[in-house]
């Protein structure tokens, strides 16, 4: 399967050439561990140059020439990154031995390569999870597969899998299909009766072969039959539409439910890789398209096929010559419609682009309306929207221009065929009835009526490809999520244990992308009930440490222990229930304050909610609202201030009664008075719990028994405030900077004050 990807999509060697591999294994007697491809040279031309890591040496191979480098020598590995081109160089004492140039496509492999080479060069044993071929192919394909996950599902398989959702509703499906077939067959009856009416009543009566009363009585019977066929046809159409619409809704409901439930089981890695809008549209828009497909698509196509085949049989049966004139051009017409569909698809693509441009303005301006207004940019935004709106209209008009000119032409072609039928039929209509070429008026009228039924099924079949494409794409997007499994490893016999709150990190390595380590061997210990602080610059890995405690991600090396138990052995739901996080900008759901405080603890009595809100210093401001605890906080709690949201989230944490509390910059985004209130609330909340506090303001960590200074994924200093100040290292630097900032601001304020006076 991977080979197909390489050949079809990547235009790159599937594996290390066997001759190269053989040379290393036989001539150098080395075992290949890892390899990567350098696809550019220093002039930025496409080349193929391999770098292979073996047990004892590493090798650079170009055009069959092998250059090898022994691990006994100490090398330095450097990479210079450009926008598209990168350089990986191997040096000894600052002297460049060789350089490999590569595009971003090879980036993952080169990052891994650098890590392995550095480890090997330090004399460490490197254990790789896969064989070199798999590592190479995964490294190259991972980005594509991430964006096109489970693409091994062929379109036909997707459609087939989708149809399996019909299984629980077989009865409805059978009734719906029965209705569709019956309506189609019955729709063939009226033209036949019309022909009979002419041939068996009108003409014999005009010729004097049939009396008036007899003609009228047979005529009324046939009209009755005609009326019955209309009624029956509409009845079966109603039956089909009702059953299939309901069936489509049921399947869309099942898919939405399955999808939403499955989304709850997926880990944060999945959410980090997907856009929220994309996930939402899969649950809403894509399931809606599936309804369309089930309710109308499947049956419409089926009916169209049945109608066309039925019409062809009837027409040829009525008159072979005229029947063939009418049916033989049908494949050409369908092909023309199909080609038109392809053209329309390109036009729709342009519409889609222009429509995205238009909606981009909306999603920019509506959430940022306050900025727009404060910068007085309403005119500019109206103009921007106006231009894109105009562009979108132009594209849609192009679509309308195309189809409005195509369909009349198509209809004209069908009518031309009809004219041909007429011109062939007239001489036969006026000939003697004894002539073999003779065709009766009734037969011909029936023929004309059948001809009129030809255009609709042709149109439906012509659009089938596009419709099938759209719905299978939607189904594919849904199945892609359903097929995604949580990457969190699940140990057998997981433990559900009341935690005391002791946390230990042992040489923890972690990487979000599987390549660059965000945490590089982090080790520390927190006793149950102890408070520690994490400080360091943004992006140093502080928040990552807390996310790993919650097991939002699995670590790539080392061990995390809670009360001496490996994190992976603790039952996930149980673990998370005992850890609470208070964020800088807490998330509140659209709902009442009560709902938000009681989130996850819906059964707790109301008095507990009030008690928690009081401890969180939230009770008073909540009662200031008209509806008190029943006040709706709006989407993401936007109707509340940052400090109010913060205190509600603290109340929520209090109700949860966690053993481990994580404070992620909990007081950094509020004014001094609010900070005091939040700090008071936090002091009550932290009592008796293990607390891991991330803070930029070092003053908020005075109660911490230990402070860890994190820099570039490593703990560079650890100790109490006093100990760290004595070290004169990173912590002291941070402290001095903050003092300086404080003095600067204080001085500025004082100065400003004097000026005011």
């Amino acid at each position: 399967m991977k080979d197909i990807y390489f050949k079809k999509y990547l235009k790159q060697a599937t594996l290390l050439p066997s001759a190269v591999a053989a040379k290393i294994q036989t001539q150098h007697r080395d075992k290949i561990l890892f390899y990567a491809l350098s696809d550019l040279d220093e002039k930025m031309c496409m080349i193929q140059k391999w770098i292979v890591i073996g047990e004892s040496s590493f090798y650079i191979i170009e055009k069959g020439e092998v250059e090898f480098f022994d691990f006994n020598t100490k090398y330095e590995f450097k990479e210079e990154l450009g926008k598209t081109a990168n350089v990986f160089s191997i040096l000894i004492e600052d002297k460049i031995l060789t350089s490999l140039w590569y595009s971003q496509k090879q980036n993952i492999l080169f990052s891994q390569l650098k890590f392995i080479l550095e480890e090997k060069n330090l004399g460490k044993v490197v254990t790789l999870k896969d064989n070199p071929d798999d590592l190479y192919q995964e490294g190259i394909l991972s980005t594509l597969l991430k964006n096109q996950a489970s693409s091994d599902l062929h379109k036909n398989k997707v459609a087939w899998r989708l149809l399996k959702y019909l299984k629980p509703y077989q009865a409805e499906l059978v009734i719906g299909c029965f209705g569709a077939i019956s309506a189609t067959v019955i729709s063939l009856v009226p033209p036949f009766i019309s022909g009979k009416l002419i041939d068996d009543i009108l003409r014999p009566y005009q010729n004097g072969d049939l009396g008036l009363s007899q003609a009228l009585s047979i005529g009324y019977v046939l009209i009755g039959a005609l009326g019955s066929s209309y009624i029956l046809r509409e009845f079966f159409t109603w039956l089909r539409l009702k059953k299939m619409s309901f069936l489509g809704e049921k399947i869309a409901r099942d898919l939405r439910k399955e999808l939403f439930n499955h989304l709850q089981t997926l880990d944060m890695q999945f959410y980090a890789n997907k856009q929220t809008g994309s996930i939402i549209s899969r649950v809403s828009a894509d399931t809606d398209r599936i309804w369309d497909f089930i309710a109308f698509g499947v049956v419409e196509v089926f009916i169209a096929l049945v109608t066309l085949i039925g019409l062809a049989i009837v027409l040829i049966g009525l008159d072979l010559e005229l029947g063939l004139i009418m049916t033989l051009p049908v494949p050409i017409l369908i092909f023309t419609i199909f080609k038109h569909g392809q053209k329309m698809q390109k036009l729709f693509l342009r519409c889609w682009r222009k429509w995205s441009d238009l909606t981009a303005v909306l999603s920019d301006v509506i959430p940022g309306i306050q900025v727009v207004k404060s910068f007085n940019q309403e005119e500019k935004e109206m103009k921007r929207f106006g231009v894109r709106n105009e562009n979108a209209m132009e594209e849609f008009n192009e679509v309308h221009r195309s189809w409005t000119s195509f369909w009349p032409l198509l209809m004209l072609s069908i009518q031309a065929i009809m004219l041909l039928v007429w011109s062939m039929a007239i001489p036969r209509l006026v000939t003697m009835s004894t002539d073999t070429a003779y065709i009766s008026v009734g037969t011909f009228v029936a023929f004309i009526l059948y001809m009129g039924m030809f255009s609709h099924p042709i149109e439906v079949i012509g659009q089938m490809a596009r419709m099938l494409n759209r719905s299978t794409s939607s189904a594919y997007r849904i199945f892609e999520i359903l097929d995604t499994k949580s990457t969190l490893a699940k140990e057998k016999n997981q433990i559900k244990q009341e935690l005391k709150g002791g946390v230990e990190f042992k040489q923890v390595l972690f990487s979000y992308d599987g390549v660059r380590n965000i945490l590089k061997g982090v080790s520390f210990n927190v006793a149950a009930g102890e408070m520690i602080g994490l400080v360091g610059p943004s992006g140093s890995g502080k928040s990552t440490i807390t996310k790993l405690m919650n097991r939002f991600y699995d670590i790539s090396g080392g061990e995390i222990l809670i009360d001496g138990i490996n994190l992976k052995q603790l039952e996930l739901g149980h673990l998370r229930k005992q850890i609470a996080v208070v964020h800088q900008d807490p998330f509140l759901f659209h709902g009442t304050i009560l709902d938000n405080i009681r989130y996850g603890n819906e059964d707790l009595p109301l008095i507990k909610v009030i008690e928690a809100a009081k401890v969180a210093n939230a009770h008073e401001f909540i009662l200031n609202f008209k509806d008190s605890y029943d006040t709706i906080v709006g989407e993401r709690g936007q109707t509340l201030s940052g400090g109010e949201r913060q205190r509600i989230s603290i109340a929520r944490a209090i109700l949860n009664d966690p053993k481990i509390l994580i404070l992620d910059e909990a007081t950094s985004a509020v004014d001094s008075e609010t900070e005091r209130k939040i700090q008071e609330a936090l002091d009550k909340l932290t009592a008796g719990r293990t607390v891991i506090a991330i803070a930029h303001r070092l003053s908020t960590l005075r109660k911490a028994s230990k402070i860890l200074v994190v820099k570039k994924g490593e703990i560079v200093e650890m100790g109490s405030h006093k100990e760290l100040m004595l070290l004169s290292g990173e912590y002291k630097k941070l402290q001095d900077m903050q003092m300086e900032m404080h003095h600067l601001m204080h001085g500025t304020l004082e100065q400003g004050g004097k000026h005011d006076v």
């Binding site: 550019l40 496409m46 598209t84 693509l349 892609e480």
Partner: protein
């Protein structure tokens, strides 16, 4: 004063000490010819260059060569095929550097540059530049016009 190694490692002489630096264009899309920030390993700016002509004469070709590497992207001069598959668009192209296949997301459209050219960024982050639509305009029309 700047020094550029063959492996594109750039150094800048600060108080008689060679310091590893990178030069970043401030406006790589809007105005690639002006405003370059010279930053050290910690990301601190050592120098802001408004135009390469402001540099010493001997430094100009060094920085130009360095920027050629830093801002390099493939130049598309021919288009064989554009195909859409579930969630991804596949391009099979001829570039000045050789034939290449790459993929973009379906809703990632080529960016129109101020000079009228187009820039495509693929799933891996490789960039492709189209200066003229004379070739393959039929295939590309839906994506760029």
């Amino acid at each position: 004063m700047f020094k550029l190694e063959d492996n594109m490692a750039l150094s800048y002489l600060v108080e008689k000490i060679w310091c590893a630096v990178e030069v970043k264009p401030c406006f790589p899309l809007t105005d690639v010819a002006h405003f370059f920030s010279v930053r050290n390993d910690d990301g601190a700016e050592l120098l802001l260059i408004e135009s390469l002509s402001d540099l010493e004469k001997e430094d100009q070709p060094i920085i130009q060569r360095y920027l050629n590497f830093k801002t390099f992207c493939f130049e598309i001069i021919g288009l064989y095929q554009v195909e859409e598959d579930f969630g991804v668009r596949h391009f099979e192209v001829k570039t000045k550097q050789g034939d290449r296949n790459f993929q973009t997301k379906l809703d990632d459209w080529p960016k129109k540059m101020p000079n009228g050219s187009f820039l495509i960024t693929d799933l891996n982050g490789d960039e492709y530049f189209i200066s003229s639509l004379e070739f393959g305009s039929k295939l590309l029309a839906s994506y760029v016009e």
